[in-house]
Amino acid sequence: MQEIKILKKVGLFFLVLLLVIFSVFPFYYAIVTSFKSGSALFKVDYYPKVLDFSNYVSAFTEQPFHLNIFNSVIVAVAVVVLSLFLGVTASFALGRVKFRGRGLLLLTILAVSMFPQVAVLSGMFELIRWMGLYNSLPGLMITYMIFTLPFTVWVLTTFMRDLPKELEEASIMDGASPWVIITKVFMPLLWPALVTTGLLAFIAAWNEFLFALTFILQNETRTVPVAIASMGGASEFELPWGSIMAGSVVVTIPVVALVLIFQRRIVSGLTAGAVKG
């Protein structure tokens, strides 16, 4: 009996260890690689032998990587702010007011969040060209609404719906308008949900590739994913793996840090995002 118990424990331990290695190793290996240069790159090492920062330097000198990071931050922050603002008010309406067509509207929003991005590519291209926003950050901000907005609205609606009904009624009795209810009564209760949703929207915008690849032409205006994807060497077969890994590490660390700090909230947000069927 005792032995079986210990065996079970050891088994579990190894499974968990395997799991952690499986999850973390690729990123770890990217970090290891980012500290190697020259011919060291072409030898497989499982731990850093030297700390060589030259890849980090070249990641920022070979292309305007600092601008790319800045662009990504600007776009992601703007997208988060805009979708949260629109999402909070819309989710109040969808989560707490009964009106005709609410179910249909929710259905549409869910459907939009499942749109294949490529399905709107040509229409979107025409639209932002018409608005004069082709090859500009505001253009990206607007196009990103297609995935952040439905998602934000959907998640916030599930949170909104769970707020106690009597609290809202008490504020109605106190003479609060819907706007006051949102800002003075619900927002203070919703901020954890806002942090979660905002973070998820941020990550989605930070990671977006297809639109950024298609709607931006210049190196200086690119966002991080496109910049990394297009880091090239003299030929296709001589990719600067060291710089690519250095760049990857630089843009991933903030996201990973955010995710680790807010991990509990993120999991709850992801589960809320999935429909309760």
Binding site: P164, E166, L167, E169, A170, S171, I172, M173, D174, G175, A176, V180, K184, V185, P188, L189
Partner: protein
């Protein structure tokens, strides 16, 4: 002045008919309690008055003005919720001041009113606390304070005490009664606790449930607590008010003059009741009602013997559930003090004629010929 008049008030949720044809007058300063079985629409009726639900049909007047489509803050009513519904991120002070702030009351008035309410409710030491730092009873008082500061003509309470423990419930009940006499405002109070209803109300509104709502409208009977207790207008009211429940024995009307009636019981014996059943034909199926606590009163026309099926000893009284010959329902008997009797013992009961209720074949009560004032005199 904030008297409330309801005329032909209906409420439907989709196809569900919840409130039917309510006609009710609540005078200024009255304390009205809504009671009824769970799910009968007490909260809904209260929320119609508050303005939290739309009235499907009918008229609601508060203070002489039709308020059907006035939003809640303009009706001069304030509501206290069962779950307190305090704003969790605001202090006690801010909770009470919130409504006044929204109404753009000047700061000094707000401060005066909040402090006064704090004094009345003994919250003055707690004004800077957050709701989560308060006990259940204190939270309930803040919720009441939030209503008081708005100086409404009508207070609405929806089961305000049901989340409190027994002792606190009694204490807060007394405080609410005191508040009513101090403020002189009208109050409507929803509860399913009979003691609360009987002790607080000037007027009880008992609501029907189920089929009866469609047939007779939502209101089963309106009256003072003692009226409902002594002169229930039908079997439902008679059974609902009073605890333990009134006993019902099926019988057949033998005869009736203007002042008393004779009823044949299932075991063949006959009893007299001080009820005017002259409107009915002899031979009609009737139901005889008598409360468990009334068997020992004087003036019995006949006696019967029952076998104790089981007994409950409460200390101040004992309850016995009796099997009666010819009837398959148990009869409840309440005797003051400790009465020792066990399962299987035979107990003799008498059926005093002045305490009998009689219901016709459609469960309406025949008028009793003894008024309850007389009845009380004989009791004292």
């Amino acid at each position: 002045m904030s008297e409330i008049r309801m005329r032909g008030v209906y409420k439907q949720f989709g196809k569900e008919r919840i409130i039917e044809n309510v006609n009710l007058d609540i005078e200024d300063g009255e304390f009205v309690v809504f009671v009824g079985p769970s799910g009968c629409g007490k909260s809904t009726l209260l929320r119609l008055v508050a303005g939290l639900e739309d009235i499907t049909k009918g008229d609601l007047h508060i203070g002489g003005k039709r308020v059907n489509n006035l939003p809640p803050p303009e009706r001069g009513v304030a509501m206290v919720f069962q779950s307190y519904a305090l704003y969790p991120h605001m202090t006690v002070y801010e909770n009470m001041a919130f409504g006044l702030r929204l109404a753009k009351t000047d700061t000094q008035t707000i401060d005066e009113r909040v402090r006064k309410a704090g004094d009345i409710l003994q919250l003055d030491q707690l004004l800077t606390r957050l709701p989560k730092e308060l006990s259940g009873g204190q939270r309930q008082r803040v919720a009441i304070g939030r209503a008081i500061v708005r100086e409404p003509g009508v207070f609405l309470f929806d089961e305000p005490l049901s989340n409190l423990d027994a002792a606190l419930r009694v204490q807060t009940r007394i405080e609410i009664a005191k508040l009513h006499s101090d403020l002189g405002a009208s109050m409507i109070y929803v509860t399913h606790d009979q003691v609360e209803a009987m002790t607080l109300a000037n007027k009880i509104v008992l609501l029907n449930a189920g089929e009866a709502v469609i047939k007779d409208g939502s209101v089963a009977q309106v009256g003072s607590p003692l009226e409902l207790y002594h002169q229930p207008c039908n079997k439902f009211v008679a059974g609902f008010i009073g605890s333990p429940k009134m006993n019902f024995i099926d019988g057949e009307l033998v005869s009736s003059d203007g002042s008393k009636s004779t009823i044949k019981l299932p075991d063949g014996s006959q009893v007299e009741a001080s009820v005017d059943a002259s409107a009915a034909q002899p031979g009609m199926k009737v139901t005889l009602g008598i409360r468990p606590e009334h068997f020992d009163q004087q003036g019995a026309s006949s006696t019967a013997k029952g076998k104790v099926a089981y007994a409950e000893h409460l200390g101040e009284a004992s309850l016995f559930y009796l099997e009666l010959a010819g009837s398959n329902e148990l009869l409840t008997l309440r005797k003051e003090g400790d009465v020792l009797a066990n399962r299987g013992d035979m107990i003799e009961i008498s059926i005093p004629r002045d305490y009998c209720h009689l219901f016709n074949d459609s469960d309406r009560a025949f008028p009793r010929t003894v008024t309850y004032e007389q009845e009380m005199l004989t009791t004292v």
